[in-house]
């Protein structure tokens, strides 16, 4: 099987299927799902969608969106996977409209705002056993477009071919030795590569029973799946924040929880954000109390440009799976590249291809392989197939350690934030003349320059940032015009500015009454 459509054609009526958490939960077999996919593929064809048409879709963790996604792929259309809006993000629809125009999106799914293109709605009753609507596609055909890092303000659309998708899905199932008896669990957003590829699609290969929940549901009921499943061979992806949340929850509950509860988790992929030593140490610390086998943990590294996974390894213990840098920082090992994928740590050479650093030396991480896209949509191909990840790292004994990033990206609780996006929100505040957002180890700092005679309450600015991005800065300060360093072309010199103003910064909680500039 070399295309997702081949896989969809094989879905059958085993007892296994999907369970969408909710009240009530929605359950169906893979055969039922296949019927809905075929019926809706035909339905979308009848609505005028043609092969190759791009269809914008924010994939929510419910049956409707999963069927719509797979039906569009089945009929040869190309879903464009978009993040849902942030709460209170008034600019979301305008941003999407720009993307629709820029990337020639022909349709939008009904749950998106009005984007000025025809809207599609699924047909919940459209189901058929016939192969109607399910077209033959080539392994080289585009399957889905996902956005790298989730930035819609500075979009990097990644066109995934069927062959890339299948290669990566097979690599994932090889890492955890997936078999038909394994039980999948996912609560990551399906608009995120780890949720979509790892959480949902990888389970189609062996038609694993799969329990789907939203991130919010996991936070409200972190033990729901573990107390529901009868399986003792469960696969899940948990970014660092989710591991931390689960550990804290169990610790808070103490003896009131089944002491073998975590024995069910045999494969926990941990990635999507930096893997913190303290988080893993906390998990290892409670392992015995809740029956968890630490080698069930699979620290991994990946990105949308590579479909999903690039490297992984089975946790070997705190001493072996972390290294301590000279500055005392602990850095997680994310393992060796998956078969067929190359990872080089170095610098970009004159041809655009990487020149490797000496073993053990830090450099930029480059990846190439069957899961890696050829380039961004409507953009030049990656030189020699090498994707410059923008992350920094080092290789030791063939295993990758990701040390940081050169790209402007902040990851908070698995969600990617961009300094530019935060700056745009701050600049909309009354009395703000200029601002700059800087990052350091996934904490971010904000300097605000007020207009003359304006009074800025930084704690209010912090609250506004939190309302929109879900997190407050680690430090804030008022600055004067000219203190925000920029290049002659106006590009922010964030590191230089942070270094200069850091001593004046204070956490928002320490900022009380309104401050005069």
């Amino acid at each position: 099987m070399s295309t997702l459509n081949d896989l969809l054609r094989k879905l059958d009526h085993r007892t296994a299927g999907l369970t969408f958490a909710g009240a009530p939960a929605v359950e169906l077999t893979y055969g039922d799902l296949a019927g809905l996919i075929r019926g809706n593929a035909r339905h979308f064809q009848d609505l005028g969608v043609r092969r190759g048409d791009r269809v914008a879709l924010s994939i929510e963790s419910d049956l409707e969106h999963v069927v719509a996604l797979l039906a569009l792929i089945a009929m040869g259309a190309v879903p464009v996977s978009l993040k849902g809006p942030r709460t209170g993000d008034d600019q979301y629809a305008a941003t999407l409209r720009r993307l629709v125009t820029r990337y020639g999106v022909a349709y939008a799914y009904r749950t998106l705002p009005d984007l000025g293109v025809p809207t599609l709605t699924w047909a919940p009753g459209a189901t058929t056993a016939a192969d109607l609507g399910l077209v033959d596609v080539d392994a080289d055909d585009p399957c889905i477009i996902q956005f790298s890092s989730g930035s819609l303000g500075d979009p990097k659309p990644v066109p995934l071919r069927h062959s890339s998708l299948l290669a990566n899905m097979h690599a994932i199932t090889a890492v955890d030795h997936r078999h038909a008896g394994a039980q999948g669990w996912t609560f990551l957003p399906l608009s995120h590569d780890m949720g979509l590829i790892g959480g949902l699609l990888s389970n189609l290969i062996h038609q694993n029973p799969l329990f789907l929940a939203t991130p919010q549901r996991f936070l409200r009921r972190p033990l729901e799946f573990l107390t529901w499943t009868p399986s003792d061979d469960c696969v899940v992806a948990m970014p660092d924040f989710a591991v931390r949340y689960l550990v804290n929850h169990l610790t808070n509950r103490g003896a009131r929880t089944d002491a073998r509860l975590l024995a069910r988790l045999r494969h926990i992929y941990c990635g999507a954000e930096p893997i913190r030593h303290e988080t893993i140490a906390a998990l290892v610390g409670i392992a015995e109390a809740w029956g968890f086998e630490p080698s069930s943990l699979i620290p991994c590294y990946g990105m949308a440009e590579a479909t999903l996974i690039v490297t992984s390894h089975r946790f070997r213990g705190l001493a072996d799976s972390f290294l301590t840098a000279p500055n005392g920082r602990t850095i997680a090992c994310v393992g060796q590249p998956i078969p067929g994928t190359d990872v080089v740590v170095g610098q970009r050479g004159p041809s655009g291809e990487p020149v490797a650093s000496a073993p053990g030396r830090e450099g930029v991480v480059f990846v190439r392989g069957p899961g890696v896209c050829r380039g961004y949509l409507d953009a030049p191909e990656f030189p020699g197939g090498w994707h410059d990840t923008g992350d920094t790292g080092l290789l030791r004994d063939g295993e990758l350690y990701v040390t940081g990033r050169v790209k402007e990206l902040i990851i908070v609780n698995g969600e990617n934030l961009f300094p530019h996006d935060i700056e745009q929100v701050v600049l909309q505040q009354e009395g703000v003349r200029d601002c700059m957002v800087m990052s350091e180890d996934d904490r971010f700092f904000v300097v605000v320059v007020p207009t003359p005679r304006a009074t800025i309450e930084l704690s209010s600015v912090a609250a506004q940032i939190a309302a929109q991005f879900g997190a407050v800065p680690a430090g804030m300060a008022l600055g004067a015009a000219g203190e925000l360093e920029r290049t002659t072309s106006g590009k922010p010199m964030r590191a230089t500015t942070l270094a200069a103003l850091r001593p004046r910064m204070a956490p928002p909680a320490a900022l009380g009454a309104p401050l005069q500039p």
């Binding site: 709460t87 209170g88 919010q216 936070l219 409200r220 009921r221 924040f241 949340y245 804290n248 929850h249 808070n252 509950r253 103490g254 009131r256 908070v412 609780n413 704690s459 209010s460 912090a462 609250a463 506004q464 939190a466 309302a467 879900g470 997190a471 407050v472 680690a474 956490p507 928002p508 909680a509 320490a510």
Partner: protein, 99 residues
């Protein structure tokens, strides 16, 4: 009898509020004084800097009082207010007859 149950329920709610305040390291008087948005709270709390931290504080308080099997963590965002959070917990305490 009914007033006893209501008083006990009120005690549970007050204990919950005190636990949340302690976990957020904020004075209860300041935390519950006016209907602050939760986004303002994460900007003022020395321990919570994002929505997950805030949910952990609430979930931790429920677990500490051993009401988390019967009272569900409210579906909240940072756009909600602390009053909405407390009202939801109060309603669940009443529905579940926690006394």
């Amino acid at each position: 009898m009914l007033s006893d149950i209501q008083n006990h329920r009120q005690d549970t709610l007050e204990s919950f509020k005190a636990c949340v305040a302690r976990r957020l390291q904020m004075e209860p008087a300041k935390l519950y004084n006016k209907s602050m948005k939760l986004s303002e709270i994460v900007a003022r709390s020395p321990t919570a800097s994002n929505s997950i931290d805030l949910m952990e504080a609430v979930a931790g308080a429920m677990a500490e009082l051993e009401i988390d099997d019967r009272v569900e963590l409210p579906a909240i965002t940072l756009q909600h207010t602390v009053d909405q959070l407390i009202d939801e917990v109060r309603a669940q305490l009443a529905v579940n007859g926690i006394a």
